[in-house]
Symmetry: C2
Subunit: 295 residues, 2 copies
């Protein structure tokens, strides 16, 4: 099967798993469930659940314990998008061509539905204990998911990004923001999938390093596309970083070096994944696809 067909099939499978774990829209709190589901079903590439599944399979997992984790990583990611879109943060009215959650359900429900999705990610992961012969692996995978989501991961990166909006950034700080805001939620599914399948610390660390590299490459690619991309093709305005005097990887090191760095990082990530025993072709191809995207 070619890569695009396999990606399509795996994305469909991820969507089915996600739908299975969404809250029922019933009872007094049905409106909260509706707001949670609205944002969860607003489209998107389901990249993180697809990565988690691929990592679990590559490391030899044979149970279905990874499925609640697939749903959970998408809930955590969606939580961050809902809160990021709020007026107090990026103040975005549209995402993926649809009204953002707070525009449809009101700002209070934007706050609460983001909270409820973050919490539901844990409710969902906790269901995995009864789905596995290895509850210790599920506990360890949850620890990684929690750490990568919190102050030592995505939320830490978000806070530094928000606090320094429009200010000059050092290379160190930009690196910190990219590693936490973007890489952390790619490290989490790669590591969690491996850990759930029984991978030891050494392998989990390799998946962590691959996730860091993929996240950085993805983010630098974003900076490059803002300079070179076509607004119609990307689906969002270009040259916005320059207009907003935003410090990016491109403004710090230039287009050519940024491009080289993306290539270096994606090759590095694929090489790390290839060290795993088993058929790593899909995961390697996914990494290259992500880091070479033109939109």
């Amino acid at each position: 099967m070619n890569f695009q067909n396999e990606l399509e099939q795996r994305t469909q499978k991820a969507l089915k798993v996600i739908e299975h774990y969404l809250p029922a829209e019933e009872g007094f709190a049905s409106e909260l469930a509706a707001a949670m589901n609205y944002s969860m079903l607003a489209g998107g590439k389901r990249l993180r659940p697809v990565m988690l599944m691929a990592s679990y399979e590559l490391c030899g997992g044979t149970e279905r314990v990874h499925e609640p984790f697939m749903a959970a990583i998408e809930m955590i990611h969606t939580h961050s998008l809902i809160h990021d879109d709020l007026p107090a943060l990026d103040n975005d009215d549209y995402r993926r061509g649809r009204l953002t959650t707070h525009k449809v359900y009101g700002e209070a429900m934007g706050v609460l539905s983001g909270d409820a999705l973050l919490n539901y990610a844990y409710e969902t992961m906790l269901r995995s204990f009864s789905m596995t012969a290895y509850p210790d692996r599920a506990a360890r995978a949850m620890q990684v998911m929690a750490e990568k989501t919190g102050i030592g991961g995505m939320l830490g990166g978000q806070s530094v990004d928000v606090m320094n909006d429009g200010k000059p950034l050092s290379r160190d700080m930009l690196d910190y923001i990219y590693r936490n805001k973007t890489s952390a939620l790619i490290e989490a599914p790669l590591m969690a999938g491996a850990i759930l399948a029984g991978a030891d610390d050494k392998i989990a660390e390799r998946f962590r390093a691959a996730g860091t590299a993929v996240g950085l490459a993805f983010q630098i690619r974003d900076d490059i596309l803002d300079v070179t991309g076509d607004a119609g093709e990307i689906g969002k305005p270009v040259h916005s970083d320059e207009k907003n005097h935003k410090v990016t990887y491109v403004s710090l090191v230039g287009l050519e070096k940024a491009d080289e760095e993306v290539r270096r990082l994606s090759v590095e990530a694929a090489a790390l994944i290839r060290q795993t025993e088993g058929d790593s072709r899909f995961l390697e191809a996914l990494i290259l696809e992500l880091t070479s995207r033109n939109k």
Copy 2:
């Protein structure tokens, strides 16, 4: 030892445990940690951690596995206060005589620090697995904490309260809001303490029922104090419910019946706790103190 001295000692112990588990204010995300700690150390009665500890001890717990849970329930409660105070929700500038988190750190950090505290509650509870000979109990206690926090508990109650602000409420809906917005985060520490100590489902259910009753009594007492209380003594404006045309237990059934209901519920809760083998005097006294408060 008399009750007030014991309560004071136990509150100090709870504060020490909470402080032990707070995030370090260091590195790039130090401002996020500072915002989290600002709200966690803004005072308060530390009621929920004290209850969790009392329930753990009453049910015969002898490890220190309940300590991360004590910190976690306070983080969850504080998360709900930070987000509740945001302009999009209650828009409060002060809480307990201090500026609210978003007034000090800005609205974006108000959102993010609330998120980070909710997530940190899970990071903290997950540390308990290495502190106990009974990881299955820790997993079960986490499930209860998660369920009582989310759409089936506090956040569900918050959402219905927010959606119906200023609208006429049925008795059923008011009951739903009180049981979820208030009781759920009292049920959680009572149940989690019992489960961590090895209590079976029957005992956990008794602690759940006691928590429901305490939460309802506490909330109805709040409604009563809004009518009969002295603003100076309570530390917040009175008659605000009437001014805001808010449906409360008092407006639905009248002062006298509301008062009777508080008494009935607190006696019921104390009786449920008293069925536990062991010295239940402190927990019973705490329940009666809470439900008979004059401020």
